[in-house]
Subunit: 211 residues, 2 copies
DNA sequence: TAGTGAAAAGACAGGTCTGTCTGTTTTTCC
DNA sequence: GGAAAAACAGACAGACCTGTCTTTTCACTA
């Protein structure tokens, strides 16, 4: 999806972080949006192809023309959902006009907005890896790819700040981001983003002092 | 399981954190152990009853006599796996002869041992909630119950240390523990436990200073 | 030794799953 | 307006799913 921008955000949709809120313009996009919604809310294995067909108001042959197997549909959903989420996430962060220090901490404000959405269901990649664990290499690869984008961004910020050990700071942020996501998903309490932010501030103070 | 201790650890088993390494003494325990292993490694929905039967070397009628439905088997597995894990985890922590300060930080050492086990597959409760998300209330409840044990222990430690805000310290540790688990699961790198520990130290220094 | 109950083995029903195939209708584009 | 591509509708095959049921085996006990 979105090779050419055939999907555009629904007017006034609050939840630009998810594909589920795009207005699909063709059968392929409709299938992707429906599959994404269902897979992420009911599980990948628990959602049947027929359910996707019904939700997408399409035909079986059409689905299998665009996505030759359910496995490939799952991969396409993760790919598209990841791209949508990252566009939203990094887009929000790019608007932060502040020193790298503050921009890095702004991550947790954006996360809190995500957690506060009533449709928040956790991170699709964390959920997918949790569901398939070791039994689906392609899903793990998709998750790795997604996380590598995050890591690249975080490391760049750490370097821009001139922190002594950018890699360790990145690892620190990864733990905090994953932890906040899971805690918020389980408790439905978005304020775990604040808890994570406080820890991040603590870490940044700590490593700056050592200079 | 374990109403009376009919299961005992396999001699020399390194991985006492999981039911999968107990020596089952009757059909019911064999089913629980097999189901636990399969559910946690291939997913709950993706694992069929017949697969469990085969792995447990038992008969279908026997399984359905002890667990009237797959849903109830899932709940029993989570219950038993949680109890086994907590017995291992808190047992390890109880052996730590040190001030509450150190005992709380010792959590991350125990976690690292868990992550280092080749059979580590993440936290069964995080994985189960991820798989079913909102579509299975009983699973969410089981996860809540498990986490509440952890929270009780953490809060008690924070109070024993005389920390100014035990609840906030507990929330902090919850984020760090969840984050370390997920990061280690995805990367298969146990040292995320150390990263989390450093953050915890940072937090404890911070809240102690404010006294 | 006869009886009792737990477990094994596996056939079976009824439903759902993925994926294929055959037509018909709609859209698109020249 | 007419040809080509795309999408719709749905029957169908074959596998697999959960859950029930019957029959056989076996261990223990009165």
């Amino acid at each position: 999806m979105l090779d050419e921008p055939k999907c555009c955000p629904v007017a006034g949709a609050a939840s630009a972080w998810s594909m589920a809120h795009l207005e699909p313009h063709n059968a392929r996009d409709r299938i992707l949006v429906a599959a994404s919604t269902l897979f992420c809310r009911q599980g990948f294995a628990a959602t049947g192809i027929d359910t996707v067909i019904d939700a997408a108001n399409t035909a079986k042959a059409t689905l299998y023309k665009h996505f030759p197997s359910k496995q490939q549909l799952i991969e396409a959903v993760l790919d598209a959902e990841g791209e949508t989420w990252r566009a939203w996430f990094f887009g929000r962060l790019a608007k932060v006009q502040a020193p790298a220090n503050e921009r890095m901490l702004a991550v947790f404000g954006v996360l809190q907005d995500w957690f506060s959405d009533p449709g928040f269901y956790g991170c699709p990649f964390i959920n997918a890896v949790a569901e398939f664990e070791s039994s689906n290499g392609a899903v793990r690869k998709a998750a790795e790819k997604h996380k590598s984008h995050l890591i690249t961004w975080l490391t760049a910020q750490a370097i821009e700040q001139g922190l002594p050990d950018p890699k360790e700071t990145t690892r620190t942020f990864v733990v905090l981001i994953d932890g906040a996501i899971v805690a918020a998903q389980h408790t439905r309490d978005p304020s775990f983003a604040r808890t994570a932010r406080r820890l991040a501030e603590c870490h940044l103070r700590d490593v700056s002092r050592k200079d």
